[in-house]
């Protein structure tokens, strides 16, 4: 694959951008990574994702594909000779997609809420995050069937879907001074998190937690300033 044939528009802190990067690493596919600058959106981004104007966008032979998990599936289906990312059994695929939707729609938004929550609201959202991790622990035990990853012996779709949030999970723990992923409560997930993060397809695209904390703090400061200005 010539580098010019495959481009990925993204940014280093985005968990969503990590997803196609991991998928392309798994398939050993080379691509050009184009980083968006903060505070502005490139012409290429606006043209290739006019509907949402968001990253990541994969541009393959000039055709853009948007939405991170849709891109991951596209990668799996297009480079089908490489290691599989989605399970082969339709039922297992459905389960992986169910939990992928769950982490995106139900679980991760709570991390965002946590970053600016205080007092009782903070305790409540922490409770919700931890409850979600309990559910995911059960899912991990059932789906991995004793193996290392949700995908079994290899990283799969759900590992990518959930694992991309680990950087921000750890950053949230530091920023809010709270333990969320507890090896005593969710031992399977705790072990999985370490193994996933150090996997060759993941470690170079997982942002450093301290950098995320710094970036996260600047986002919170901006949010608080905007809120104060509007009140």
């Amino acid at each position: 694959m010539a580098r010019t044939e495959l481009k990925l528009l993204g940014a280093w802190p985005s968990p969503y951008v990590m997803r196609p990067r991991i998928a392309l690493n798994i398939k050993s596919v080379d691509y050009e990574f184009l980083q968006e600058t903060f505070g502005s959106k490139s012409q290429l981004l606006l043209e290739s994702n006019p509907v949402h104007k968001k990253i990541p966008v994969l541009i393959h032979k000039g055709k853009p594909i948007c939405e991170s998990l849709i891109i991951v599936e596209y990668i799996d289906e297009t480079w089908s000779s490489g290691p599989s990312i989605l399970p082969s059994d339709p039922y297992d695929r459905a389960i992986a997609k169910f939990w992928g939707a769950y982490v995106d729609e139900k679980w991760f938004p709570n991390l965002r809420i946590l970053s600016t929550a205080e007092g009782e609201a903070k305790d409540q959202v922490i409770g919700t995050i931890v409850e979600g991790l309990d559910l995911l622990e059960d899912a991990f035990v059932k789906i991995s069937k004793g193996k290392t990853f949700f995908g079994g012996g290899q990283i799969g779709y759900l590992d990518i879907a959930f694992g991309c949030y680990l950087g921000w999970l750890r950053a949230s723990e530091k920023m809010s001074e709270v333990k969320l992923l507890d090896e005593a409560k969710t031992p399977g997930l705790a072990k999985w998190a370490d193994t996933f993060s150090s996997h060759p397809a993941v470690k170079d695209v997982m942002p450093e937690v301290d950098k995320l904390v710094e970036y996260g703090k600047s986002l919170v400061a901006k949010y608080r300033a905007a809120k104060a200005a509007s009140s």
């Binding site: 509907v51 849709i70 599936e73 339709p90 039922y91 695929r93």
Partner: protein
């Protein structure tokens, strides 16, 4: 090809999506109508995470989330595919299905359940999103081309429920003047046999909306 049951609800667009797909493929199934105000132990057992319909049971194994179910159905029963074959077209179908669920439908629901300024804002938002969707349709008969595909199935709220909601509230969102292409699609859609045979009874739906508009907020 095994035993198929569907936990659903007569008025739920999500539940009807699954029925449309199963009927389109000629799959026999047992429909279990859930009373959403009084959820059955079966539903709570098979969808403990969300406690929502639809849930497909295939040989006793549950699958939840309507679009996930549609993908499963297409992969399991090969007659009359609803997803495109080529990865790029498939990605586009998935993109538009997601757009409908994340942008169009919530804006439409927001119109129904809100009032005054909030409702005006919701109407504006819905118009923008429906225009984007209409652009995607261009000169095709259906989103799926000559025959219905997954995006048409997922657009069922826009295709049918919206008309009923407009009548119940007196709000005109999709008109021939404002949305000529989408209006055409709606006409084709509800005339299409597999769709029209799988819609809830219009009068019953209208009554349900009217009574809920006068009652406190209600969720599926």
């Amino acid at each position: 090809m095994g035993e198929v049951k569907l936990l659903g609800s007569w008025g739920s667009p999500f539940s009807r999506r699954v029925e449309m797909a199963l009927k389109h493929k000629g799959v026999e199934y047992e429909f279990i109508d859930e009373d959403l105000a009084n959820k059955s132990p079966l539903l709570l057992q098979y969808n403990p995470v969300h406690k929502k319909v639809p849930v497909l049971l295939h040989n006793g194994k549950p699958i939840a989330e309507s679009v996930v179910i549609l993908e499963y159905i297409d992969e399991t029963w090969k007659t009359n595919p609803i997803f495109p074959k080529h990865p790029y077209e498939k990605a586009m179908a998935r993109f538009w299905a997601k757009f409908i669920d994340e942008k169009c439908n919530p804006a439409i629901w927001q119109i129904i359940w809100s009032r005054d300024k909030e409702r005006d804002k919701a109407i504006e938002e819905a118009i923008v999103h429906l225009k984007t969707l209409e652009n995607e349709l261009k000169d095709k008969k259906f989103f799926g081309g000559e025959t219905i595909g997954v995006v048409d199935i997922v657009a069922n709220l826009i295709g049918f429920w919206l008309g009923v909601m407009q009548e119940a509230t007196g709000i005109e969102l999709v008109t021939k003047e404002r949305f000529p292409i989408l209006s055409n699609w709606i006409d084709e859609y509800v005339s299409c046999s597999v769709i029209k045979e799988n819609l809830p009874p219009r009068e019953k739906l209208l009554e349900a909306f009217k009574s809920r508009l006068n009652a406190p907020a209600w969720k599926y």
